[in-house]
Symmetry: C2
Subunit: 341 residues, 2 copies
């Protein structure tokens, strides 16, 4: 039996200088040959992840990796259904996660797939709280942040996919947790839904001095700063660190639209590291990939019992993918941003 | 018997905005009453230390400590002789180190003094390789730097009191060591006297790009960066760090002339921490004061056997103290700067 699948694929074809958009991609309608070799399956994507790291990898240099090549399907995490299988491990109808990118259909080797149990947790959590963002939040906070009960934990990008989890993990570790986010709605989410101890709306403070004063007032000094954004927000935080503070650099989303290639200027601050004998540590999700089971053993039961809020923002339509990626840098999402396809 | 000592004292009377000089001090001729209570001694200073940290403490705020008060004798480490004693632990003629500041004579409690053995090492080493700078270099490198054989260690301010020791300790740890210093003479000292693997004369490279290229050429990438200077040199280094690099912030001498109160601007760089999963750690000598014996047990034998170069630059004359302090910021000293009084 010869089967082909009417596929749609977003090819990454041009490096952005600033904001990313449709002009850096090409939507191609192709046919996927459905003939399977042993241990292969056909995956139909249902939920596609857009993450800030995608924009980092679009830089030609200065990043943590070989740049994302031009002329191939945009890489990304995906949750989908197996629609055909020549693997003993999977059968049609199975839900799986994979790294098959921005395409409706993909032929995958069984080793590329992780089977999901829709009864244990919504399958979308494999791209969020029980996936890469959850792992980043968990190990970034626990390993690099070393939270102690009573510590003041400040999280930038606190309404985002990683930040909202860091904040909640911090509460469970006994920290006083303050979140920074943009706009009153997100701040309300932080204090009312996530039950944080405080929130700072960075958009409400238009000068560096005002922002710093607001963070000072909300925190009274910072033991742990979990940074997802960099730039002027981080400038405002660093003078407020306390003795032996831990600063975790998880992201610098404010710098991704060109600031990685041509860094802009900010106030020098390394003297504060000296005065406070503080540490800065950069972390990446991949460094903890081999320890995923440790995180899941603790966090999956919390998700199952409803103790962790994992907010998701959905965009509908495969054709929306580049625009959804761009919207991350406008701060439009609360929690994990996902595209239903 | 009533004895008085004709004393000279440098009082710190005015906070500098930029460079420090005579105008921030007053030289006072006073008399010191020589009557001793039990366990007290009279100390005659012979060698007075000038150190970059003195300038940090002159800032009104933003530092690691209560600012140095105005209107008192400038605090500093000193090596001198006991000239009179009512202590069972010390007798006239003993060499000691103390923190008695910029004055010829001081009445000290015995608990303030550390006895020195002039037969074991030159007494001046208590202010250098076997004192605070040695401790800073030793623990900063071994604890925060975690050197491995084969690592490339880059030291800024490498011809200075701390830097020249870090460089030599790094060589003994099996590192490839490159030093940064100002001027051909200091660079010659690094490669010919300290036998480092390379030296970069930062004054020979007048643009940030040229400096960065020179450091790249000399190092091929940096595993450990021991930073004494901050500012543009550090800007040039950070993009060159390798995977899991350790950056030790020991000083920021380029920023002490005002840049601590009103930070100047430099390129943002925290994304490199992320890409390389690197760490920055600020260290202070005081945090290792209780572990001085560990350092001495290892380093004192090296000093005694002549295996460690501890260069000293001497200025003669008590009246030269403020100018000597200022000269640190002009980079005039090689190794430890000391004033003979």
């Amino acid at each position: 039996m010869q089967t082909t699948y009417q596929n749609q694929q977003w090819f990454y074809v041009k490096r952005p200088d600033g904001r990313v958009g449709n002009e850096h991609y090409e939507l191609r309608k192709t046919e996927l040959d459905g003939n399977l070799s042993a241990n292969e399956v056909i995956l139909r994507a249902r939920i596609v992840s857009v993450d800030p790291y995608i924009r980092i990898q679009q830089h030609e240099r200065n990043t943590y990796d070989v740049p994302h090549p031009l002329g191939i399907v945009q890489r990304a995490g995906v949750v989908g259904e197996v629609v055909a299988s020549a693997s003993p491990l999977f059968q049609a109808g199975d839900w799986v996660s994979a790294y098959s990118g921005w395409q409706l259909y993909a032929r995958c080797h069984q080793s590329e797939l992780t089977k999901l149990d829709p009864g244990a947790a919504p399958v979308s959590t494999a791209l969020g709280v029980l996936g890469m963002p959850g792992r980043t939040a968990w190990f970034g906070l626990t390993e690099a942040g070393r939270p102690r009960p009573g510590d003041t934990l400040l999280v930038s990008g606190a309404a985002g996919a990683v930040g909202s989890l860091v904040a909640q993990f911090g509460k469970r570790a006994g920290c006083r947790v303050i979140g920074i986010a943009g706009g009153p709605e997100k701040c309300k989410f932080l204090t009312e839904t996530l039950k944080l101890d405080g929130a700072v709306d960075y958009r409400a403070h238009t000068t560096p001095a005002a922002l710093r004063a607001a963070i000072q007032a909300a925190t009274g000094g910072v033991d742990i700063y979990f940074d997802n954004v960099g730039g002027p927000i981080t400038d405002a935080v660093i003078p407020l660190i306390k003795r032996r503070a831990r600063i975790i650099i998880c992201g610098a989303i404010s710098q991704y639209d060109g600031g990685l290639d041509t860094p802009d200027l900010g106030p020098r601050f390394l003297q504060h590291m000296l005065f406070q004998r503080a540490t800065i540590q950069g972390i990446l999700a991949r460094d903890f990939a081999h320890r995923m089971d440790e995180m899941l053993a603790i966090v999956a039961p919390w998700v199952k019992s409803g103790e962790i809020v994992f907010q998701e923002t959905y965009v509908d339509g495969f054709e929306q993918l580049p625009e959804a990626l761009n919207s991350l840098f406008e701060g439009k999402n609360t929690g994990k941003l996902l595209v239903r396809v």
